[in-house]
Symmetry: C2
Subunit: 261 residues, 2 copies
């Protein structure tokens, strides 16, 4: 059920990544960047990300802050079968819903383990738990479903599963005006271009111009990213940036050896 | 000025990563995982991370929420010379301090550009701005300092600079009891071990036992991480986990083909 996109509106989202292992450094998160890529391509603005530990109060508080503020919230982690997987309980508590063994999920998982002649242990049954009435998110990798309550999409932490679940929900999301962007390489450090870039930003208020320093261990250069909802705003601003870079090159400012961080 | 560590206390921290590019997917953050590693090794518990856009209100609100709740807050990003670098202004606003061109930072940067026979542009002078009275964080990579206000450490977003700045402040941080940990590989999926692991966790309440599914594209296995502040708590819990894994292996449960996410 693909929702029509509304090219005049802005749709916002937040992510809540859940797991002690992300905060101890044991696991380096890969889901935030992937979600950011997918949402940006879809015309949904990711506005905030939070990472919290496997602690019920922390999850409940963050989830309630985010779900009331943004159109969508996507969570990762904590929906496996072990005692430290408490996301289903925390999401239920945030919505003041009972956390139940969902009958459809019990059938789905029970059938799968039966076909594999494996015991449907109490631990495995934990993966069927979700807030009463939640909709499933199909999990083609390992069966145990994610779930949706109102505007909150609860998905697994294992990146392959997170990505597969996201693929299964992205088509149903309401999307807004896509942010168009143009990335312009610039051989100069930010200190050389900052003043001129500020003037260009002021002259093109419908755009958002970012400059991102790159450091290769010896020299700084810059990538300038011009973003706008509409091409008629984007193109003249990008042309102004390119003109500025060309003029600096003609002056041969040797500033790519400058230490502008 | 290295602070003595207090092996009985718990010291907490949060991170605030600032930048549109992290939320658009353009830049994949590398600083969160690095900070997590360094703090864990230092005996400081990273409890929460937030990523926000280059928007003053969002930065101020997140910073005020985090700095009142945790012992330390570390920020990354937004302290360069261009118009979209607004972290100094936002931190000043959060602390209700004027944002000024710091005299020492002006001398430091002015002298550096003079030696390099480069113009100390208005944009470059932006890098000397910080809340009045802030202490510097030395930047051995590209000179422009980070800064410290009370318990908030403001650092660059470029990973090489972030890491160098962190190296320069970590020795002065108050540290608590280091979290000890033992990582135990387990060839079984979480569904096979969940029930037994819950029992072990209950029997060893001074430990925190996490299990992390790994998926290689075909099979799930698990890494079990036992954590505790004291070795006398850690060792018996880790031994109980190893015994459980051995007993499962003796039963030859073929569960590493199980789809436990």
């Amino acid at each position: 059920m693909s929702q029509p996109s509304d090219s005049s509106s802005i749709v916002t989202a937040a992510m809540l990544a859940i797991g002690d292992e992300l905060l101890s450094g044991r696991t380096k998160d890969k889901n935030i960047g992937h979600l950011a890529d997918v949402l940006t391509l879809s015309g949904i603005d990711l506005k905030e990300v939070r990472i919290v530990a496997d602690e019920e109060d922390a999850i409940v508080e963050a989830l309630n802050a985010l779900r009331t503020r943004y159109d969508y919230v996507f969570t990762s982690g904590g929906i496996g079968p072990t005692h430290d997987d408490i996301t289903a309980d925390a999401v239920s508590k945030a919505f003041r819903l009972p956390c139940v063994h969902d009958p459809d999920a019990m059938r789905l998982l029970g059938g799968m383990y039966q076909r594999r002649e494996m015991e449907f242990t109490e631990a495995r049954q934990r993966m069927a738990r979700m807030p009463e009435g939640a909709r499933h998110i199909a999990n083609p990798v390992s069966t145990a479903p994610g779930f949706i309550v109102e505007n909150v999409y609860v998905m697994a932490g294992v990146p392959q599963v997170f990505q597969a679940m996201l693929d299964n929900v992205v088509a149903e999301l309401r999307t807004g005006a896509k942010m168009l962007s143009r990335t312009l390489p610039c051989p100069f450090g930010e200190g050389d271009i900052g003043t001129a870039l500020t003037a260009i930003q002021k002259a093109h208020p419908q755009t958002s111009i970012g400059s991102y320093p790159k450091y290769d261990g010896q020299r700084f250069s810059t990538e300038i990213v011009v973003r706008a909802r509409h091409a008629e705003d984007l193109v003249p601003a990008a042309e102004a940036v390119m003109l500025m870079v060309r003029e600096l090159e003609e002056k041969r400012i040797p500033s790519n050896v400058s230490p502008d961080a």
